[in-house]
Symmetry: C4
Subunit: 281 residues, 4 copies
Amino acid sequence: MEKNNIKKGWKNRVHEIIYEADTPLGKWFDIVLFILIIISVILVMLESVDEIDTKYHKQLLVMEWIVTIFFTIEYIARVISIHKPFKYIFSFYGIVDFLSTIPLYISYIFAGSQVLLAVRAFRLLRIFRILKLVKFLGEASQLKQALKASRAKIAVFIYVVLILSVIMGTIMYLIEDDDAGFTSIPRSIYWTIVTLTTVGYGDIAPQTNLGQFIATAIMILGYGIIAVPTGIVTVEFSKQGKSNVKDGKSVVHTSTQACPSCSAEGHRDNAKHCYKCGSEL
Amino acid sequence: MEKNNIKKGWKNRVHEIIYEADTPLGKWFDIVLFILIIISVILVMLESVDEIDTKYHKQLLVMEWIVTIFFTIEYIARVISIHKPFKYIFSFYGIVDFLSTIPLYISYIFAGSQVLLAVRAFRLLRIFRILKLVKFLGEASQLKQALKASRAKIAVFIYVVLILSVIMGTIMYLIEDDDAGFTSIPRSIYWTIVTLTTVGYGDIAPQTNLGQFIATAIMILGYGIIAVPTGIVTVEFSKQGKSNVKDGKSVVHTSTQACPSCSAEGHRDNAKHCYKCGSEL
Amino acid sequence: MEKNNIKKGWKNRVHEIIYEADTPLGKWFDIVLFILIIISVILVMLESVDEIDTKYHKQLLVMEWIVTIFFTIEYIARVISIHKPFKYIFSFYGIVDFLSTIPLYISYIFAGSQVLLAVRAFRLLRIFRILKLVKFLGEASQLKQALKASRAKIAVFIYVVLILSVIMGTIMYLIEDDDAGFTSIPRSIYWTIVTLTTVGYGDIAPQTNLGQFIATAIMILGYGIIAVPTGIVTVEFSKQGKSNVKDGKSVVHTSTQACPSCSAEGHRDNAKHCYKCGSEL
Amino acid sequence: MEKNNIKKGWKNRVHEIIYEADTPLGKWFDIVLFILIIISVILVMLESVDEIDTKYHKQLLVMEWIVTIFFTIEYIARVISIHKPFKYIFSFYGIVDFLSTIPLYISYIFAGSQVLLAVRAFRLLRIFRILKLVKFLGEASQLKQALKASRAKIAVFIYVVLILSVIMGTIMYLIEDDDAGFTSIPRSIYWTIVTLTTVGYGDIAPQTNLGQFIATAIMILGYGIIAVPTGIVTVEFSKQGKSNVKDGKSVVHTSTQACPSCSAEGHRDNAKHCYKCGSEL
């Protein structure tokens, strides 16, 4: 690492600040970014509250511009300082960064660009890395692997639940009146899922005796089948735990460094080359 | 297999197309069938939405006829091309196929034949086979076996829950007024199950202090006893997982082929004879 | 057993019919009892539905008398035919049998004896034995043992949940207005439990922003802590399963015979003496 | 222990009564304290019910004064009799004891001191020790350890759930009208969490078809991801159980004695020195 640093130009230094957290400047950048992401999400929320927007519209707009300008600079810096910019631009985070930067600009051209504001929330995912939550990243990847391993079983489960909902929803539509809220089969299916998952809004509820009897059956069914995904995931977690112990290490130590060419993260502490594209770190 | 193919007549070729997915024509047939099943279910849904039915009644009827005619041809072909047609006709899928074909015909004779449309949803179960989801079939059969093994325990559990609901429902009927919605014991039992399964519509809710106190007890009870089926199923899944590992193989490879005489599915890849009726594949 | 039968008087024969299911008459008795218990519970339900009670009051009363007379005879026969009648009379089933027999008699003396009708539902517990569900009894006792072993942990859990509810309920009472339904601390605690257990009726719901924020925290808490009883019970079930396998037998075979002196059930198939009081079977 | 008792002054004797439960007086003190804590919590509840407060205001106030005076004496005695009073004063229980004593005094100075009454509920946590529930303390500490071990995984899980809620809430705000209750993004997020945790009040419910479709997806998601914390906790409990068995003992026997200097509890039965500060017991 030290040897490479000597040969670095300004691009490399920018790269180090933005993509890594090992230098003091890099840490400061991460903290500022972290705060601005939180602010940007809170801004979107506050703007949606009518009373607040009416009162503090001007202040909110100023804040929005500050955040947008910082995000714009950050985005440009990210694109410039990386070796293979297109890999970043079309990566998940690249798209999220782009879409969460542009809404304010677009709002002067198109109305209804608010839709893009929802994208900002995805930026919150960066926080894992920003907070140097390497340990948490390890936990998250364990969870991810367990869920991945049980994917097929859960897909079968959800598929069966959906078929059940279609069948039960159709039956309830035939039994219950429109007055009770069962105005169409799609709406009856909506009700069935509300009941099966034990959410139970109560905006639609069966009125007839037969309808209430079937509803009861659906509830007990839903109460019982929740055991299935739980069982699947628990067994998978239990396997994960054991295989980790077998290897003798429970957590692989990863650095916060990102590859300068492809911006892949999660390199081992002692890695010299990117595990993805092979370029030197 | 190749040797048998030489001696095949048209019945055998039809059988191969309908019941198997190994030939190009068989694959095409499966894809068309898959799309038509999805369409047929969506058609039933759309017809139930008043605004859509009023506007596009004619188009929907035409689509309905196309689906019905295809299903009719398919059903006849299935009956003709199989060695033992009665086994198919009285099998689960045979009955589902029949009932999901006839509603349109019957609607010209009887009103209210709509009830049969609900049967169509069962056809969705075929998709597992159509999508060549052999791996999923393996997962599904694992889930099925685990649930089968824990059947007795779950039956005991549901039985105890039902007795509890009858007792609690009767008590709540005696405590609460008619105004709160507890107009009869069956309705009180309905409320108890709604509460015990944590669905909680809120269409019926206790008003008196004593009623709310007992409701609280029922909720905590329900919150706690959900642990029972989960525990049962998890332990059973965990056993399943271990016994599979013991055998050294985790998934038995099965072909998509169906037996020409009895239409049993799920034969091993290298099977020469049907595991059910013993006739050559 | 055969030797004893020779010396039996009529009391013994009545005992055999009522308490055992090994003779044809004993089986018939059990089936009739089973049907009458179900009928007696359904009768209580139907009487509570106003429309039905008004229309068929006479028929229901006749049925009620038939059931009551049969239960009366059965109760007297049980008391007479057993060696130690007081053990039966003050046992759980003895009290349930007595209380589910008397409501009709008392209704001519006191009004409001309906309360006792709720007791009838407990009779449904007999069905396990009646249906010769020895296997189910085994399962039920496994469940019981697992729950017994995890009793202390679950008590701690429920205790913590209750304290949490009291604290959160008091806080919500201070935050929310009476208009939202939070009229007193007990009612706020009721709402907290409704929310924490994910029942969510919606009859009481927070209106202020702060209230909704805390409600959100309670929900996520409730969503998370449901994992605790599930985890406890699952681990206990898993231990049960292992200890059973260790013994080499998974189910202890029990006969349907009951002890003639103390009416204890669940004797081993080859038992000669009651495991409880030691008298000959 | 016996040797030390000889040298004890009155401070030591007060300490023994208040902090320990091994002497008859200590037991009596604990029972009285237990009853007064329960009474103090019930008093707060009753005062909040308008009908009761209007009728019995005087009686409640007298009771309140009795409880307050006892708590005052107890608090002073605790501070005096301990070696290092500041450790107690700034410990969790010290602060709870102080805050649950002062509300009545403050109510004569400031209005709205009711807020502090909520603190009283925390006193209920003492009951574990008061009831000599050593066994329960063992169970509680097992639960605590299991939850502590799975803390990182649960934090990741809750964080992902919150991000999901922000994203889904924003989307629902854009789709649904104000009439349906989705008046701002924070409120939409509140609804999303209500739905995701399967609480489902029904005070806010989607009206449009698209909204109901997304709601359905959120429900199934929520229904599925409840498996994650359950799986995490179950695996952790299962590990706890095994490590306890490995040690050969399942429960560490602890005495009800508290350290005279730092008031730490949970010493081993045969402990001579406090495990925390090392002073003699």
